[in-house]
């Protein structure tokens, strides 16, 4: 299938190597955002709302403004332009304008000579609130349209989507068996060890620079330009190496905008580093999702139709929520053949920190449901769960019912590897009571097919600059968040040019110095930046080869770039060092520089909503978990995990295995203990709704001591769509672990826990329920769904469009706003600039009185 790239003779790619930034990381020399200090730097702290939902009537900051050491106090009126990661959800303000929507929503900012002074000055700001009723959960949001948390959407329903691929009801009616289950997936947060931090400074020429622990400097760049009203050409965003991101640093954040504004007003650098509590309030983590999954199968367990409903608790803002909603349905079709499929999803607003993308973005929840239900189907039909899955794998190089284009598909081999490695056949259903194994599978994107805002530009660009010293510098906007994107860049360029990755000078995550890369999200960097890097490197190689060919009188096609030399393949002694080769190239062509870029192929999904899910390639994973469950207490101990991941090609196996093990770790946290739990105080005493424990100690997440042994298999089956055949590994391996744990618990003690986290109390409750032998949600609320968009599957004559959709015209979004040019310092907020556009999304235009 991909014999050409499979047969490549590679020097660097595929060899286990120390990552290029390892030395800095292990010696503590990596400079994270909070490690940065600039002369005359000031410090910022945010005052946050103590109310879950309230109108701001008045802010009296006079005591804070006059406190010694305080340089500036900002409130919502200073930053009135809304923003948000998605063009359809521009619902955030850097500081709340006139309404707070959850405990922790920022209301004011203090900038002072040091952090201590700024902290103390927060006490000098008096905010007069008018509390409003709160919405704590989705069912309450569905039945309580007023008061509205956001002025858009329908009541407190943010978004409803409905898609149908083929006549699902007819297929369901013809099925031999129909399985109907309700599942709940609790919300969890990213828990990156580095708290978000940002530093802003105005350059001597009046331009703005922001250093920030962000996964998406390009999107932050856009948001800054919009909210600050200055030309993007005058803003530079530098993504510092992230101490973990996992999706939690993918939105533009209020603190980034606040320090940028403060630095502009004061002409001095301003830094902020959030506390752990504040990171919990930034959140954007896993949506809690209630799911109803109905699947019709024929007598041997083959799926004939699937009907999925999801209800997402979105928190107080939009964030990536519309995309998250579509993602709870988009990838249900890429693992097994699903001939007909209906998906309906609903996201609601609640008075809690906003949910967003966390590793797997919207897909782990329905994957959990699907993989447990398949286990139930296998039990009901007396089939081996591994065989049941293998008998109906989605076809490679084909379209799914919802028009996802699958390339290579290594799931069968993944299943074989974990089945063989774990001794599945001798264990499943055969271990003594209290011991069990469970199996589950999954798939994930290798980059979203569409950017966050519609445009026709490349998703990633790489620029190379070569010097007569033999030094190669690689520039790219991609962001190192610990996943190893810098290493991927060096790896591929080194491979093509025949040099060592450590020979390369890397400049990444800097919007001034490198071409745009959309950011480290959706597992897109290896594939998209990788292609751009290959293209740039191949162009450089060709320029050099032309010159070396002329001087050595060897055809360029016979030249080999390897071992820091360029030589004749037929007479290896005949060649020059890489540096000499570059010199010859420079002599022939002038200064050597090349670029490469990548744009994903056009999607086959033409229907509205079809923008979420398409990807150039899909990775696959299979996992077997072995557990011991103590029936007296319900205690679950995960003893060992076997996981196989179809990575296409592993560029650096050390990093790839690290990503698999890291995914397993994060997955076990979600499977067994993590909970974004909230507490409502007794209603007759208080209207408060608070995060139960916004702390690293009480929000339970496993540590290395809780990690079981993990056996990792990398399945390498190069995919033409990936650079040298590579697919993603950062997110996919998380997905199968949670359902595999649930299935293992069933194998051990015969009860189903249809929700995460699978805590000992839930196992015990299921063991105690002699009738259902189950713990999990019992009902799915009635939701009035819109008529689904109807799309015929490819095998029923469909062309990827919906038959009942009004014609749409795709509008080219505003890329940036270069028309708003306002170099230098902005005027003081007390004299708002005339004509400054205020796009308030607040339902009530009534603004609070601000005294300072």
């Amino acid at each position: 299938m991909s014999s050409r790239i499979a047969a490549l003779d590679l020097q660097v790619v595929g060899k286990p190597r120390r990552r290029v930034d390892a030395r800095a990381k292990v010696t503590g020399q990596t400079r994270f955002a909070d490690d940065l200090f600039l002369p005359r730097m000031l410090h910022c702290k945010l005052l946050r709302s103590p109310h879950p939902h309230a109108r701001i009537r008045r802010i009296d900051a006079r005591a804070a403004v006059t406190a010694p050491g305080v340089k500036l106090v900002l409130t919502g009126v200073d930053l009135p332009i809304p923003y948000g990661i998605l063009p359809v959800s521009q619902d955030e303000h850097a500081l709340c304008l006139n309404r707070v929507r959850f405990v922790g929503d920022p209301v004011a900012a203090v900038v002072a000579v040091d952090e201590q002074t700024a902290c103390e000055a927060l006490d000098g700001i008096r905010v007069d609130y008018e509390p409003l009723p709160t919405i704590a959960d989705p069912e309450e949001a569905l039945t309580t349209p007023q008061p509205r948390i956001q002025p858009y959407g329908d009541g407190n329903v943010h978004k409803k989507v409905a898609l149908q691929f083929g006549e699902v009801d007819a297929a369901m009616a013809s099925a031999d068996r129909v399985f109907e289950d309700i599942f709940f997936y609790e919300g969890s947060t990213h828990l990156a060890i580095e708290q978000h931090a940002a530093l802003a400074a105005v350059d001597p020429d009046g331009k703005l620079t922001l250093w920030s622990s962000t996964q998406t400097p390009h999107y932050v760049h856009r948001a800054l330009s919009r909210v600050l009203g200055i030309s993007p050409a005058h803003i530079r965003v530098i993504a510092t190496p992230n101490g973990g991101g996992f999706g939690g640093k993918s939105d533009p954040f209020n603190h980034e905008i606040v320090v940028a504004k403060a630095a502009m007003l004061l002409g001095r650098p301003v830094k902020i580093c959030l506390t752990r509590e504040e990171v919990f309030y930034c959140h954007r983590g896993r949506h809690p999702v209630l799911m109803k999954l109905v699947t019709g199968v024929n007598g041997d367990g083959r799926i004939v139709a699937m009907d999925l409903q999801t209800l997402l608790d979105g928190g107080a803002y939009g964030s990536y929520g519309v995309a998250s909603t579509f993602y709870t349905g988009a990838l249900q079709t890429v693992t097994y053949e699903v001939p007909r499929y209906r998906f309906r999803g609903c996201r609601v607003f609640t008075n809690k920190p906003p949910c967003g993308p966390k590793r797997g973005h919207g897909t782990p929840q329905p994957r959990f449901a699907q993989e447990i239900q398949l286990d139930k189907i296998a039990v009901a039909l007396g089939r081996d769960p591994a065989e049941l899955r293998k008998s109906q794998l989605a076809k490679p190089h084909a379209l799914t019912a919802n028009y996802m284009r699958i390339g290579t598909m290594g799931l069968g081999e993944c299943i074989d590897r974990v089945v063989a490695g774990s001794g599945w056949k001798n264990k499943h259903g055969k271990l003594r009571f209290g011991h069990g194994v469970g199996l589950a599978c999954s798939s994930y994107l290798c980059g979203a097919g569409l950017p966050i805002y519609w445009n026709a530009l490349p998703h990633s660009g790489v620029q190379l600059q070569l010097d007569r010293s033999g030094r190669v510098a690689a520039f790219c906007g991609a962001t190192e968040i610990g996943q190893g994107s810098d290493d991927v860049l060096a790896n591929l360029v080194a491979e093509v040019l025949g040099i060592d990755p450590f020979d390369i000078r890397l400049v990444s995550g800097d919007t001034d110095l490198g071409p745009v890369d959309l950011g480290s999200y959706s597992s897109r960097v290896t594939l998209m930046m990788g292609h751009a890097a290959l293209q740039a490197a191949e162009r450089a190689r060709d320029l050099i080869a032309q010159a070396v060919s002329a001087s050595l009188e060897v055809p360029a096609s016979r030249l080999v770039f390897a071992g820091r030399r360029v030589f004749d393949a037929e007479a290896p002694a005949r060649g020059v060092s890489f540096a000499e080769a570059v010199q010859r190239g420079e002599a022939m062509h002038g200064t050597l520089g090349t670029t490469g870029s990548y744009t994903p192929p056009e999607s086959a999904a033409k229907y509205k909503g079809g923008g979420v899910g398409p990807s150039p390639a899909y990775s696959y994973s299979a996992c077997v978990v072995e557990v011991q469950v103590q029936p007296e207490t319900g205690w679950v101990e995960v003893e060992k995990i076997w996981i196989a991941h179809d990575i296409g090609r592993s560029l650096n196996p050390v990093l790839a295995r690290g990503q698999v093990e890291g995914s397993v770790y994060m997955a076990l946290g979600e499977a067994l203990m993590e909970e974004m739990a909230y507490r409502r105080l007794p209603r007759h005493l208080s209207g408060v709704l608070v995060h139960k424990f916004p702390s690293l100690l009480e929000y339970k997440s496993p540590t290395t001591l809780e990690m079981p042994e993990v056996i990792t298999y990398l399945v390498e089956n190069p995919d033409e769509a990936g650079p040298l055949g590579a697919k993603e590994v950062g997110q996919g391996p998380l997905l199968p672990v949670m359902p595999a744990v649930a299935n293992a618990v069933y194998d051990a003690v015969g009860v189903r826990v249809d929700e995460v986290p699978i805590t000992p109390e839930k196992v015990l409750r299921a063991l105690g329920d002699r009738e259902s032998r189950r713990c999990g949600p019992k009902s799915f609320p009635f939701i009035v769904w819109p008529e689904p968009l109807k799309v015929a599957p490819p095998w029923e004559g469909g062309d990827g469009t919906a038959v009942n959709e009004k014609p749409r015209r795709r509008k080219e979004g505003v890329l940036m706003s270069p028309d708003v040019v306002q170099p230098g310092l902005a005027p003081h907020p007390s004299t708002p600039e005339a004509g400054q556009k205020t796009e308030s999304s607040e339902s009530s235009p009534e603004m609070p009185e601000v005294l300072r």
């Binding site: 902290c119 509590e277 608070v690 540590t703």
Partner: protein
Amino acid sequence: MMRCGRFHYHAPRTLRDACAMLQDAGSDGMLLAGGTDLVPNMKRRQQTPKVVISLRHVAGLRDAGPDGNRVRLGAMLTLSDLTAKEEVRARHTALFKAAAQVATPHLRNMGTLGGNLCLDTRCNYYDQNYEWRKAINFCMKKAGEICWVAPSSRRCWAISSTDTAPALIALGAEVALATRDGERTLGVADFCRDDGIQYLTRNPDEILTQVLLPIPAPGESSTYWKLRRRGSFDFPVLSVAAWIRRPPEGRVEAARLVLGSVASRPVIAEAAAGLVGTTLSEDVIEAVAEEASRLAKPLDNTDFSLGWRKKAARYLITGALRELRGDDPQTLGPLARRAAELAPVG
């Protein structure tokens, strides 16, 4: 990061000076031992001392040694110091296991024996930063009026979360308290009070200087089991300290059973009397565990659900007693391995 409020810092070199400074500071003063409890609490403004008196440089407080038929352990010995002592590991198993399971190695390197005994009581409504507590309008333990765990209650229900106190009570230990005017000793059980706010009987001018531990006679054995979500650093949500005297092959002559983290102080289970005169048969252990577990009346202010913690109490007590009978905890299932397990020490 969160910042402490402003305070004066004193670093006395003698116990006499420390006592004087403490008395002079009055209600504004607090003692700093390892700081692993006090400093984060100060950052969260749970405690707001204007004067902090460090005991780090006070001579003699890290001494340890025999004293007649007892061992004296200085209150400023770190938990790591304690677990590194072979005689503690060999003779005072309950204390060793308790100290070894406090928090993480880093925190045990700083945290002290005396500090752990004086550990502030804990509660999900209290162990939060200032802004969070402001959102709930505070609670009676600090700056508020109500106990959110039990809103109709007049008292505070914060939980005693010290690991070493239950162990030391089971071992029959005493503490020495010094003031400018002299020293007194009292049993660890009497050092603790069942009130979430006033959880110690220590007078404000007293400094805990020593722990006095009886040297065990032949036939005495003890253990400590700790229930927590993660074996790596959590506070106990329930703990069991047990001690017995039983000659080889003989019957139990004396027994003590103490439950930790079920109230604002460690709770002595009188049910232990049921072990005396027996050979710790399964029936006896189960009956005693059933009775003792009734003392566990969990409230919704720590990890895990109430109902489950109550079930777990019985299981933990049974396990600890089986271990003292001679059963290998490794054979008692995964939760037993967790509860009796020692985090890697050192």
